[in-house]
Point group: D2
């Protein structure tokens, strides 16, 4: 029923909720989620969203979510993304949101009850422990070095993970570990579910990155003889890389949706600033160089949305959409960064101050060109696909 | 029936026809349509397309066209656009293609028989006589100075037109002339239909532009006491600007479709070149800077297609799509130019020679950033719309 | 004697001093000068520089400076700029450094002793109170609204100033105030010297900008019936705009010098990172897309230096260099921003963390495209000059 | 004596001569040197330049040249480059100009008389036969495959050369051939002088490139058992790569000088066009987006000049300037292309027509990003140098 709710109405309700309940907190604390209350803030904001029927729009209906597909998520997530705290408020922040998607596709019935349901309801937070310090799994996931050894009734996991978003304070982890083969080989990874209170799990430190809006930070983790029972293996043994692909495409696109919201807000703030500020007998917004920045922002936003929707439709139709999500993510990361940079420039001195949200959005969006695959790594894979595709076909 | 023909099959047939029948002529004559035979070439190529059921995919079915909507046209026109002569071969070149669209929407029954039918069948060519020398109608159409004065049974038209594509050799013209109001005022334009043999119509000269693939060139025209009977007024008197809008959005998008084909071919030629050429112990296509150009081309092509399809869907749904076609046209003109420029660079010395089609496509596509509204004029109007839209709404 | 000291030796000594004494503090406190000690840090670092004969390389010799001209300053200031605190350490930070230059050219003997000497020796800090809230003096200085009224024995100043760098904690201010004419008229401004303890001077608040390395912040100031005696008028009455030009060109160029140092450091850190990090069987620095970023950084740095030196030579030869300093500033602001952005991208996740200085330099350098005239305002004035120059001459 | 002639006067005289005698021919024939008269035109224009004392400003004084150093050449060559035929008129076109430089440094007395003197006087034209079809000498000169075998009294040369500029109609060739070692090895090349009438030399064909202003075209050549006597070995055996370096840096910079002239002219034509054309109640040149293009052109031109002069001073001081000339060439090729592209855009429809020289300059300057090393190859070498330089030094 909730899932049938009209998307436009959901977008409007989300926009209003974010404006009324979320943006004031975001503005007051300059987008620093820990300073704004951290876990307590999350619970309070999610309570508000729950009361308005806005919580977990992506969650499966049987777990209490709204069950939206990718195309319907896009405008809702964008509306939430207008505040840096909006995704947390709606329970659609990374990495939880991608983990919901993954568990919905792969989890067993018992896992669904134990891990997925509390995630959708907002009781739990989670993290996805895949990337490792060099020379482990990074841009090249097959370099995975964290290993799980079979023992009686389960597995013992050992290894070190880096840049694990949301790790601090998470209730459980999805841990990617090698169960066969060697680093550099394409196969042999398995996903494991482990509560954070399990023995041997350490959140070693926060990597002190420039962004401040991600609850639980970006952490280094150490796994020392962590025991995971057989029933907490997520899906099949040695199927980890395949499941990672299941998570990958949609997770890329929901990142784009959220950042579209933030970049749109920066743009709109800048346009309103320029429309109100007198300059040379008219308004700043009437000057040609301003118009060029405004138009280029509109174009970049429209192109980002168009690529996003193409990929979402492909995902909704059951495709893996590796190529279209890679293209959309790369374009979006570069384009939205340009949008926010132009917005900064349009606001002059206030664009680099806390008096407008633009500087804060610039600070938070910069890493998007690096996180989830730097633009260069995506370009490398896009080019290789293109060469393969074209070199095989006859010229015309 | 033809209109129901499966689009994918039509694309495949078009691609094969263009490769077999059109590209060899294009290659032999370096895209110079006059050198390749001009009007005689047009008739020969269109005969081939007609024989394969590919002619006039956009034309209304009652006139013998295939009746495709905008979204279906996109991949067909792109396939045709792979050769600079492909649009002429399929009878979908500018300005005829836009004139078909306009006449289909506005022409009376008699006009439909006399002007539209021969256009769709390929018997006739036409031109759209709107733009004028400064300070007349250019980027700002309301500056229209060519005037039509009411006389008994019709109108007398006087004025000068500039950059009239396809004028030389056209069978008839659609002439935009002022029937009320003054230059600079928004109203008062009317469209007139006039056969090229009408007294007082002169094609004064060709403007010697760098592009060589447009049949009939870009001309200066002089209208001296040209009499147009009342029955050859196209639609209502003083409704000309409104009809120009009807033509505008789709015409922008079909330009994008055709140039997408040309730019895609340049990109593919370059990728194949790079994939075949040895460099530093591997292939040129494996070098990182090549991969960056290849990937950026793939991204620019995908974003152009995505924006194009968004606008086509809006047009097919009955919208005017002024904003989305303006955004798509501007992005496409800039992006496709970048694509061809990168393709040039990827091919090295051969990229600036006639030995590959890339240099020729670069020569032909450059004006697209200027024709049909320079990117700067589009940006100006996109920005004004954005300021109007945002300045009226509350901040959030 | 000091002034004759070989520039190369001075650069080497500065580089060594900054590396040994300044960078560790900068690194420890992430470039936040208040957190690092503020005024106390300044005194401590300057004591070190003084001990090594490095203090005030730009100051006039009779006041204890090294008396370097603009061309000689360039590599010394760049060496200092490698640390965000380096300019403070050498007493060449903005706005003091520009104020030294201005006072050296305009101050009376008494003013030289009272204001210039303590500035050169590091005893005093100063600020330059010119820019005002809209619609006052900003990009267009002739909009000056702060007014000075003649009274017996001096002047009474009233007005509000915005974005006054270094205001908090300064010992004295150079205040620009209108003494004749109306806002929007080109003439009628005068410069006044006033100690910060003078009655009626208030530092109202800090504008909370993203940069953290400027001692004394960017402040809003209020001047209420501030009395300045006739002998503290700086230069002639109504000559303020002319003196502002004296300060302007060199101040633009010393900004470029300092930011060149910071951007160079970011680039070098990134290249070393890429040279040490294994990737795909080689080093990250050997991948083509990395090489492209490295090369583009080298090119941008070289072009910035070349434009800077052209302008410095022009200034040293006695020219005002309005055009060449405007061009050099605009190019530098855009180019150095690109350099630091590429450095960020090259360092991946660490590029947006505190573990390397790159993110911090990115944060500090962003406002340079806005401070001292946004790039758009410079472009506007560069274009107007070009049109004036070319429209007057015959074509060829 | 001539060499002492004041540079400014020489620039003024060159500018006037080019405007009066050269540009009209260039304009009439759209920069197509063969259509304009080819060799006959060259002789006629050079006669004019000789009469005014402007011929061969770079030539050694003892051969009748003006003996200018690199820094003095820059503005003179730029003035000549304003017309596409200007370099031919002054006898400073590629490749003759670089060959003069090379012969001046390496030729024996007899070679000086036989080859250099007629080149400086304009009696002879020459070509530099180095680059070969893949996989021979191209971006990587060590791949040289054309071989010279020692025979009694001289050498027998066999091989194929590609993209040999000016080959058709040249009086003699400087041929680079392998005299020891294998392709891919760094050593073993020798330069040989051979009159074009020597047996076994064939100009096989012209590569049909887009540019039309280079006398003698870009040719494929075949050398079949070409005998070169020992006295026509240029410099020492196996010293060819070293001499190529002597030629390389200055030749890069004179290319930049000439293209600076062409791009400046395009810019000036566009600014004048914009300054004369009414738009929206003012002039086109007063619109912000136009101002942005004008300013960015001014900045690109200034930065190109600044980098050029840095490198020239280094060359004049006796340095090889490999790095600074590579940086200046790469920046210039990209920047001047941008300048001409913006000029095209500023002129609208006329910018892509023959009615202004802009389209023609765009056509001729495009290959500069590829000839003399594509920008990508230069970036590759710039990056490698930077990594080598930085990886060896301690961080700071």
């Amino acid at each position: 029923m909730q899932a049938d709710r009209d998307t436009a109405a959901l977008v409007a309700a989300t926009t209003a909720f974010v404006r009324r309940e979320v943006i004031p907190v975001d503005d007051e604390h300059d987008g620093d989620i820990e300073a704004a209350g951290g876990e307590a803030l999350r619970r309070r904001l999610q309570e508000g969203a729950r009361a308005e029927g806005l919580l977990s729009p992506h969650g499966p209906v049987d777990c209490g979510g709204l069950g939206l597909g990718m195309a319907a998520r896009a405008p809702v997530f964008e509306a939430a993304g207008r505040s840096l705290f909006g995704p947390v408020a709606l329970n659609i922040n990374a990495p939880d949101e991608g983990n919901v998607h993954l568990l919905d596709h792969v989890a067993s019935g018992a896992q669904r009850a134990r891990y997925l349901a509390p995630l959708v309801s907002g009781q739990a937070r989670s993290a996805f422990a895949m990337t490792e310090p060099a020379p482990g799994a990074g841009a090249d996931p097959t370099m995975l070095t964290t290993a799980a050894a079979k023992v009686d009734g389960g597995w013992l996991i050992n290894g070190r993970k880096l840049f694990i978003t949301g790790a601090d304070g998470a209730s459980f982890y999805i841990i990617m570990a090698r169960t066969s083969g060697e680093p550099g080989e394409p196969g042999g990874a398995t996903m494991f579910l482990a509560p954070s209170r399990a023995a041997g799990i350490d959140v070693v430190r926060h990597i002190d990155t420039v962004d401040r809006s991600m609850l639980g930070g970006h952490c280094e983790m150490l796994f020392t003889d962590v025991f995971v029972a057989d029933e907490d293996v997520l899906g099949g043994v040695d199927e980890g890389f395949r499941y990672a692909q299941v998570r990958l495409g949609p997770a890329r696109m929901t990142h784009v949706m959220r950042w579209l919201g933030a970049a749109s807000r920066a743009h709109e703030v800048a346009v309103r600033y320029a429309a109100e500020r007198p300059a040379f007998g008219g308004r700043l917004a009437d000057l040609g160089m301003m118009q060029q920045m405004i138009a280029d922002n509109e174009i970049d936003l429209a192109a980002t949305r168009a690529l996003l929707m193409e990929a979402c439709r492909e995902l909704d139709a059951g495709g893996r959409a590796s190529e279209s999500t890679s293209i959309a993510k790369t374009f979006a990361a570069e384009a939205l960064h340009r949008v926010v940079d132009r917005a900064t420039q349009m606001c002059g001195g206030l664009g680099v101050s806390r008096e407008l949200p633009v500087a804060r959005i610039a600070r938070e969006i910069r890493p998007f060109r690096i996180y989830d695959g730097p633009s260069e790594v995506h370009r490398w894979s896009i080019a290789r696909r293109a060469v393969r595709r074209l070199a095989d076909t006859a010229a015309s």
